[in-house]
């Protein structure tokens, strides 16, 4: 059994609807440059809308967004979110973004109907991304959402697409140049 933390606890960072991926999540230049390095991207999450965010946020904080989060079919910003140890709850997300977020290993719940109505910015939240349970400690309320399918949870639990491939390589590639730990 993989030792993976499916439960995040931290502060709610509340966003509205239609947050564009380019500039709304991460500056467009990183998308144009096709940047994939988490160390390069992490300092720039929400840089154009909230430059201090990366200084304030802590691992376990949860981005709670409305409809069409990250619209623009890119996934660069999710690499940054994952590098910062954040989770994501959203009312909806374009499918390509959803794929990109899973590939980045981001813990997320999509199709969380009404979630922006039941959380306020700064609320203390605890989310179990396997069961879909959201506990809002600040408001003493719980909510249930549909978790991602088990097959996709496996990818996230491995650490995202690249890590999943690494495990796959250890099992399938005859002479792997990576060391077995």
């Amino acid at each position: 059994m993989i030792d993976f933390n499916w439960i995040l606890r931290g502060r709610c960072y509340l966003l509205g609807d239609d947050v564009p991926h380019a500039d709304g999540v991460i500056p467009q230049q990183f998308i144009i440059d096709r940047e994939t390095d988490p160390q390069v991207l992490a300092p720039h999450l929400f840089a154009l809308t909230d430059p201090d965010f990366v200084k304030r946020c802590k691992p376990g904080d949860i981005v709670v967004a409305g409809r069409n989060f990250g619209v623009g079919q890119k996934s660069t910003g999710y690499i940054a979110m994952q590098a910062l140890g954040l989770g994501l709850l959203c009312e909806s997300i374009p499918t390509q973004g959803y794929r990109g977020a899973i590939h980045a290993g981001l813990r997320l719940l999509a199709n969380c109907s009404g979630v922006t109505q039941v959380c306020q910015n700064g609320d203390e939240l605890e989310v179990n991304f396997v069961t879909g349970l959201l506990i809002n400690h600040s408001q003493a309320k719980t909510h249930e959402y549909v978790p991602m399918p088990a097959a996709l949870q496996e990818i996230v639990a491995q650490g995202g697409g690249e890590a999943w491939l690494k495990t796959w390589a250890l099992e399938h590639v005859a002479s792997s140049s990576s060391k077995k730990v």
Binding site: L152, G161, E162, A169
Partner: protein, 436 residues
Amino acid sequence: MSQTAIEKVLSRISGRPKLQAGDVVNPVPDLIMIHDGVVKSSKVMLDKIGIRKLSSPEKVMMVSDHDVLYGSAKAAERGSFNRQAAKDWGVGQFYDVGQGGHGHIFPMEEGQVLPGMFYFDNDTHATNAGAVGAFGIRLGLEISTVLATGSTWFEVPKTVRICIKGQLRERVLARDIGFFLAKLIKLGAIPVNLDNRVLEYCGETQQFSLGERVALCSSPTEMRAVGIFIPPSQQILKYCQTHAKKSFEAVYSDTDAAFESEHELNISQLGPQVVKPGAVSNSVDVSEAEGVKIDHAFIGSCGSGMYDDLLNAASVLKGRRVANGVRLFIVPGSQKSMNRLVQEGLMQIFLDAGALVLPPGCGPCNDAVVGPLAAQECSISTATNSNAGRFGSREAKLYLGSPLTVAASATTGQITDPRTMDVDAQLIERAKVAYD
């Protein structure tokens, strides 16, 4: 049991005969396409984790279309890297710069993407494959998973049908249909959510040639359709049979398949459209954008890179000159089209007009690796979208139009209704049969 076209194709390649929308499969694609912009990140990552051999290298088509001229030393280094990667991986088909052309154009022209096929691609506009009744599906960075293992998870999408009614009027092109459709969807006049859906055109689609079908794929893809499907007509089947590099079997949706919804789109009154800056759904009738002064124009991209688009452009440019202070880039979609336009006299028309003809590829549409805009400038083009920053400066204003609208505007220096100009009727007629 009844199935949509995408359900049938996925049933074939996943070996699960009764697939329906919502099922999750691991399809083994007929082809794996990757372009010059993402080879390096894929190879570096796969090498790092010890995967040096691809699952099915013979199925891989590596194209070079996003940065063909190498607009920088970094791009030249990347090109060098890509050539080595193609060798190391042993890819079945490697098209270096100057070979093939745009990955969403030349494979269909050359009979490599055929009716009924399914392939994975890193790039969004693989959906162009719908022009021949095939499916090209974008995976972005996940293309590495398919390169390494041969497949990845994919949810069978629902299908939304748009039923075409009527015929296009003179000087109105298929690209105008897409712009108009995007607006109707945004306004809710056609109440659909295209995200993760296949958009299937039905009704009076027989009228559309191969080039027009490619044009029909562009804007719905910008509205997030995961695939486009246009049932192949006899004309399309004949073209594909003539050029096919292997056998194929066209698929068609069963008439009683479970479509999510169906909507009529009457094109008989449609006029030329212009997309205003910001999003492809910001389209208006050309009369609402006439007179906007432009500095830059561009005809090409995977939305309008077919030979008929070049013929339509030539019909306006013949005997005219690009206006002073305007630069017009023309980017054919394939080497085949580039050769053809030289042989058939279009190159002379473009040169006499003062246009700048670039090698086949994305041209300025790929984040302006060529042909960028300065801050105060304004452009009209056949690019795939008009999002801020796409051609360089975020302060520049991008408009979109059909090849006729863009060509007309380039000659006057302002956005111009192509119906207000005389055009070469013979070239217009040749455009209609460009792929016969």
